[in-house]
């Protein structure tokens, strides 16, 4: 059943590519912004476009990307924090958008890579394929600055700004179903430790020399 929503009233949204958009995003960062990459292809592509010390890659816990990013944003209010999440994962935990709508963390940005499917498990359709509009949901949850990126140029324009102020923002993009070409190393403790070193909270000891 098709329903009228914001998406239907938008000008045509170009279907883009996750790895290309991840690359564009990372290239814009100037202030050691933290990125939390959601499970599956979302963080695989973040890894594929080039590791940076402020990246945290999720290897499990579907749906918890945005809450982790919120926690980092609350703990480090002067650092821009970006969550990159898939549509399936976000649909699992829509409540976190309400929490963010309530708290209004100015240094948090959510990028939703929406291909309307659970790509990694066999391309089963999600609700965003037909009826659910992530941007409308986010606005309804109180994240006023929620927009669909129409194409790459529009995406570039939306991310050409400081990430440590003016938020919360949500940028949703329609993407294709191309699988990531690389997989993130499967070492959660090491990923967590390196991430903390990257954002200045890592343990220091004599082992560091």
């Amino acid at each position: 059943m098709a329903t009228k929503n914001d998406l239907a009233s938008q000008p045509a949204l170009k279907v883009m590519n996750r790895r290309d958009l991840s690359k564009r995003l990372v290239a814009k960062l100037k202030r050691d912004e933290a990125i939390i990459g959601g499970i599956g292809n979302t963080n695989f592509d973040l890894w594929a476009v080039g590791h940076r010390p402020q990246n945290f890659y999720m290897l499990g816990s579907m749906g918890i990307t945005v809450p982790i990013a919120l926690g980092v944003a609350l703990a480090q209010p002067d650092r821009g924090v970006i969550a990159i999440e898939g549509d399936g994962s976000l649909l699992m935990s829509l409540g976190c958008l309400a929490t963010i709508g309530m708290l209004q963390p100015r240094n948090l940005t959510i990028v939703v890579m929406d291909n309307g499917m659970y790509e990694i498990t066999g391309r089963q359709k999600t609700a965003t394929h037909a009826t659910s509009d992530i941007v409308a949901i986010a606005r309804g949850a109180g994240i006023e600055n929620s927009v669909w990126a129409r194409d790459e140029a529009h995406f570039d324009q939306l991310i050409d700004r400081r990430f440590d102020e003016g938020g919360p923002h949500l940028i949703a993009v329609k993407i294709d179903d191309e699988h990531a070409t690389e997989q993130t190393p499967r070492d959660p403790a090491l990923i967590r430790q390196r991430f903390m070193q990257g954002i200045g909270t890592g343990r220091k000891s004599a082992l560091d020399g």
């Binding site: 499990g60 816990s61 749906g63 990013a69 926690g71 609350l74 959660p188 403790a189």
Partner: protein
């Protein structure tokens, strides 16, 4: 001092500042204490696994945090514990008010409650049942120090023996 004032005092002594929670009757005095004290940053979450994610992110960002919930909320979080908190070595502090025991009137709470300790044991997460106000401060203080020193989560189960629990009024 009441058990909840003591509990929050030990949290402060150990610099646990962020509290994310899904509310419960029994922990209401704890939540009141948190929201009325500027030392604490309180974040009401919509689900307990969301709260665990927030506390994980906050700790990585340099702020120690705790999640407060009731027993049925604990049943929401085994996945985030087993796939994020434990393998990533995150000293998340979990405070669970214990329903399902000692005068429980809701069969659903009884059954959910029985899953809690076996689940924690299966993933080797330390848990302490707090039932004695005389030893509580010592247990909580030392358990928090151990959790942060060893980068391990810790669970405090608040027994009705400590809190009075929720009483069935027929």
């Amino acid at each position: 001092m009441s058990w909840y004032d003591n509990f929050l005092g030990v949290m402060k002594d150990n610099e646990v500042r962020l509290v994310s929670y899904v509310p419960d009757n029994v922990i209401t005095p704890l939540l009141k204490g948190v929201t009325s004290d500027n030392y604490f940053m309180s974040v009401g979450a919509t689900r307990e696994d969301e709260a665990v994610g927030i506390v994980t992110g906050a700790w990585m960002g340099g702020v120690r945090g705790a999640v407060m919930m009731q027993t049925s909320g604990f049943a929401v979080i085994p996945n985030v514990l087993a796939s994020l908190v434990v393998p990533s070595q995150v000293p998340a502090v979990l405070v669970v008010s214990e329903r399902g025991a000692l005068g429980e009137f809701n069969i659903g709470q009884v059954l959910v409650s029985r899953t809690m300790r076996p689940t924690l044991d299966a993933i080797a997460v330390t848990h302490h049942t707090l039932d004695n106000p005389d030893t509580m401060n010592f247990v909580v203080d030392r358990a928090l120090k151990q959790a942060f020193a060893t980068l391990s989560p810790v669970v405090f189960i608040l027994s009705p023996l400590l809190t009075g629990g929720k009483v069935f009024k027929a």
